[in-house]
């Protein structure tokens, strides 16, 4: 029995080594490099501490279709990701930050909101329209934050990771974002 446990544990250790050494390339794939560092801070109401964060654009620069496998928050602290969408953008306006979307007056020009779909499992064809990566997040404390989004995706034979460089911070009322 002990020998079996030992074998299992040793195997788990070796598997851990192997999995960590063979990581996917970060920010070098066809969906870009994640941009340069920064922070987006959004004040939210305590009764509805959620926000829509759509500040990242994805465009497939390769000649192969890529498929989004997963999107998670990077290093989340009291911040919960409720859903992630891809929204095609026909012009150069992204959704940006909002408490809810779409606004009463309708989506911004060029935002093809009716063609939104969940990001995981969605394919992005080469040279297609820019896709707005839109995250719905909820604060679970007065200050909630994450070090961006981590998008795992693949094409034929290759897996990639995109780590967006803009941190996300939700500040629950009455706190304010200004320093």
């Amino acid at each position: 029995m002990r020998r079996a446990i030992l074998v299992l544990v040793t195997g788990a250790l070796l598997a851990s080594c192997a999995s960590t050494i063979n990581t996917e390339p970060v920010n070098t794939g066809p969906l870009g490099d994640g941009g340069t560092p920064g922070e987006e801070c959004v004040p939210v109401d305590a009764k509805s501490p959620s926000a829509v964060i759509g500040i990242d654009a994805l465009q497939n620069t390769s000649n192969e279709t890529v498929t989004i496998d997963s999107v998670i928050l990077a290093y989340p602290k009291q911040l919960k990701l409720t859903s992630v969408l891809l929204v095609p953008i026909a012009q150069h306006n992204l959704i940006g930050v909002a408490l809810t979307y779409p606004p009463p007056q309708g989506p911004e020009p060029g935002v093809m909101w009716d063609q939104r779909r969940p990001a995981p499992g969605t394919t992005i064809a080469p040279g297609s329209l820019t896709e707005n990566l839109v995250a719905m997040v909820t604060a679970e404390a007065t200050t909630a934050q994450a070090a961006g989004l981590i998008v795992s995706y693949h094409n034929t034979g290759h897996r990639y990771i995109l780590h967006t460089a803009t941190r996300i911070r939700l500040q629950v009322s009455p706190s304010v974002c200004a320093p």
Binding site: R2, I5, L6, V9, T10, A12, L13, L14, S16, C17, T20, I21, N22, T23, E24, P25, V26, N27, T28, L31, G32, D33, G34, G35, T36, P37, G38, E39, E40, C41, V42, P43, A51, I55, D56, A57, L58, Q59, T61, D69, S70, I72, L73, A74, Y75, H92, N93, L94, I95, G96, V97, E108, I150, S152, I161, T164, T166, C177, A178, P179
Partner: protein
Amino acid sequence: MPPLVRRNPSPSVAPDQVLQHARNGLGTPCLTARNTRHGPPDCPAADNAMPREGSDGTTLSPPKRPDSSLRPSSCPSAGMLRHGRIAPDHGHQSRRHPQLKIENPLTGISQSLEGGCLLVTSGLGGIMNKRIVAVVLAASVVAMLSSTQAASASSPAAPTPPTADLVGLVDSASLTTPVVASGHILKSDGSAAAFADVVLYAWPANDALKGLSPGDGFKLQAVGAATADINGAYTLRIASADLVSPMADSSGIINFEIDAGAIGQGTVPFGFPRKFDPSTGSMTEIGGTPPALASGPTASGSLWSVAPEHADVVLPLNGASTGTQNVGPPGSTSAVNKGSCTLAVVTNYGPGWDIVGQTYSTTTGVTHQFVYTSGSSSSLGEGFSLSGAYGSFSASGTTGVGSTGSETYPVQGNGQYAYYETEFTFEKFRRTCINPRQPTTVDYLAKAVSWAAGAQIQRPSGAPAAGYCVSQLAGSVFRKESTTAITWTNGFSVGGFVGINLSTDTGYSTSASVEYSFSAQRHLCGTGGYPGGTPYQLVAQA
């Protein structure tokens, strides 16, 4: 973020008003202390203690930038062609520093991998007794040791100790380490300088340079060498990051210089800075994105990374060079001997204003601010001259300077455009290069060596066109802590000293930032990309 082609970020906008000029308490650095560390006895005599003014037979006036000459540009200079940055060689990491930070995309957990193996022991205590734990730990140690040994087996050879001369420096053609710089060496008529000599030097740290006085001399440290091919193409590599790490200043900046020479074409320098991270051995561009983690060791066994410089160097025809024809194609694995360069301080100039950042708002309901803090880095143009005389300098690459204090600029409001400036001291150096295949050459360099503090805001007459927009909620704050540099031709106001204003790149490191605070719903737009990506310049709009 889609990779975006770097573009000229805005139409020309000229500063037309100086708002304020406030020096902090740091002042300019002392220029009287002699530094003996970088002044070996064998250095050539400098233009000893030349006066600050009139050293070139010209009365110097305070630097003043012609308003109409300030424009963002990536245009090549007359003497040099500097191309845009090429993609970093992401296939390299530092094997000498095998600590890897790995993020699991499925769990979001960051794991530190040291020595090649990750230990996971939590949760095991309840199912194993001490004996099993001991056995498992022993197995783990064995696994780690074997991993470390494997890494050592494929590591590069022991670093070559710094050499006083190029003798013994391994030709880049026989190295497999990351490319530090590449490009072409061209003659003054535009033709290829076949088999030209190319040497990569590292300058002493700025911390040491700013303590030098006129007459002090030092020898440049050769860290790489190559011979151009028949088409003038060259590739420079450094055998080990250990060769250059001692040259990093307190901000981590290392200033490199490419020297190229061919028969009858003289030698010419081209400077470029890199920011050195001692924890990984990686070298990034100032204002650039740090190299991403690679998937694993490369075939060469090298793990350190560097963002390579692409520089096409045009040699000036100085008429002084004669000698035997360069012979031999590149690729020799033998030691090289291409000569060496020594420098001496000719003049300590006073500080010159340099643009270090910019913000714009074309609407109401937005405030914006720039902060230049300790550890910020700027990339400023260098001047090169064969005679050293006023008006004879031409641009010749860039040099990096880090700040040792901070400048917080006033908050800007509705409809305001701002260029944020601070001051850097710079010096003129006399450069003497000895090459066994050419006569000795003497020329001059003018370059910034230290940050002098000071804060000044200039008002451009307009904001650049910015078409990559996101909507910003009232109350939201967007901060950008680093951005890919844009080049402002003539942004470094030193024309009163050397006859031309030099360029400046307004990319900044993680210690400087721009911040836009929105009190109403507005748009924030980038000139070259979305704000969350690589926007270059940011403009708040209605």
